[in-house]
Structures are given as structure tokens and as C-alpha cells.
Amino acid sequence: AQSVTQLDSQVPVFEEAPVELRCNYSSSVSVYLFWYVQYPNQGLQLLLKYLSGSTLVKGINGFEAEFNKSQTSFHLRKPSVHISDTAEYFCAVTLSGSARQLTFGSGTQLTVLP
């Protein structure tokens, strides 16, 4: 079975500073990787996904993530954050191939300070 670890439960950062949210996964087979964002009282919104090909994936709202197979990581980055980026961020994995459920990490609360 696959698993996802988000080591940082809370990340405070000042506005316009860069940020990295860490995600490591564990799986013995090929996987797809995702980052979702959840605003208060909202559902999950897909930021970006890695299926195959280029290991650097660009998503919405200026976010990007890099798949590192040797380190089994999929860290999320943004060079300059805004107040509006304050939200909970979830890393998720699913087995490649036929439809499978997502396995989520426990989430990282990003708080952007003025």
C-alpha cells in the first residue's frame, strides 16, 4: 500500500517570500502524484499533478512541484506568496493505471503573514 508524509503541519511565511511545502511518499509500484489546496469550508481544488514525463510540473496560481523518484519526494514551491495563498495544502498519491482512490497526507497549513 502507498502512503504520504507531510512533515510540516504548519508553515508561516511572510508575504512575497518563497515557500516550499514538503511531501514524501512510499510505494512499491508506479504512482501518480497530486497537490490539492483547501480553503476554509471549501472542497479540495487541484493545484497540479505529475503523471509522467518532465519531473517539473507547473500548476495554477504560480505553484510548481518537482518529482524526485530517488528521494520519493514531490515538494511544492512558490517563489513569492500572497495573502490569498493562506490555506491547507494536501499532497496525494494514487496507483498509476486504472482508477484508484487517492491517499492523502495529513496536510500543511500555509499561513501568509503581512
Binding site: 472542497g43 479540495l44 499533478k49 503523471l51 482508477a99
Partner: protein, 115 residues
């Protein structure tokens, strides 16, 4: 609407009461998933439908939980004899295809509080 719709948004149930949570997926989406999100945690898988067929129910925590999607569109998650540990946000997601690469779209969830 264009997105996944869940109702009710909030539900307060007395312990022992039965509840039914509804999910209207995006029209034409083949796959439908239910997740349970406890406070401060990531969502956890409950069950998966492909059209009307329930292909995976391995995440349902007990036989008090039951889900159905009889016509391959709307789905209902039913919890019988609710317990306090059932308090959580229940999320529904749908995707167009029956493939892991197909993006899952999430509803806003139903927040269930058992008192």
C-alpha cells in the same frame, strides 16, 4: 451546476440517529468517490463507484456505513446508528474516466456533527 454538489452542507445528528448524505457528481462522470475527513486530518477513502457498480468499499469503517449509486449518477452515503466518532466532513469526488490520471473534482463536503 457545473461542479460536484453535496447536501446538506451541515448536519447535526443525535447519537443513534440514522443520516443520509447526498452527492450530485458532475454530469457524465464515470467515477465517484466518498472520503471522510476528520478535524485536522487529510481525507481518507471510504468507497468507490464506477457508474452504478461499487467496485471498492474497503474504506468503510463499519457495517453501519452504506453507500449506493443506483442509476450511476447521484450517490447517497448512509450512516446508521451514528456514533460520536462519525463526526467528520464527508467529501464526495467525481472524475470523468475510470483512470487514475483523470482529475477528481471535489464537492464542498457535508460536515456531520454527532451529539
Amino acid at each position: 451546476g457545473a461542479g460536484v454538489s453535496q447536501s446538506p452542507r451541515y448536519k447535526v445528528a443525535k447519537r443513534g440517529q440514522d443520516v443520509a448524505l447526498r452527492c450530485d457528481p458532475i454530469s457524465g462522470h464515470v467515477s465517484l468517490f466518498w472520503y471522510q475527513q476528520a478535524l485536522g486530518q487529510g481525507p481518507e477513502f471510504l468507497t468507490y463507484f464506477q457508474n452504478e457498480a461499487q467496485l471498492d468499499k474497503s474504506g468503510l469503517p463499519s457495517d453501519r456505513f452504506f453507500a449506493e449509486r443506483p442509476e450511476g449518477s447521484v450517490s447517497t452515503l448512509k450512516i446508521q446508528r451514528t456514533q460520536q466518532e462519525d463526526s467528520a466532513v464527508y467529501l464526495c469526488a467525481s472524475s470523468l474516466l475510470g483512470q487514475g490520471s483523470s482529475e477528481a473534482f471535489f464537492g464542498q463536503g457535508t460536515r456531520l456533527t454527532v451529539v
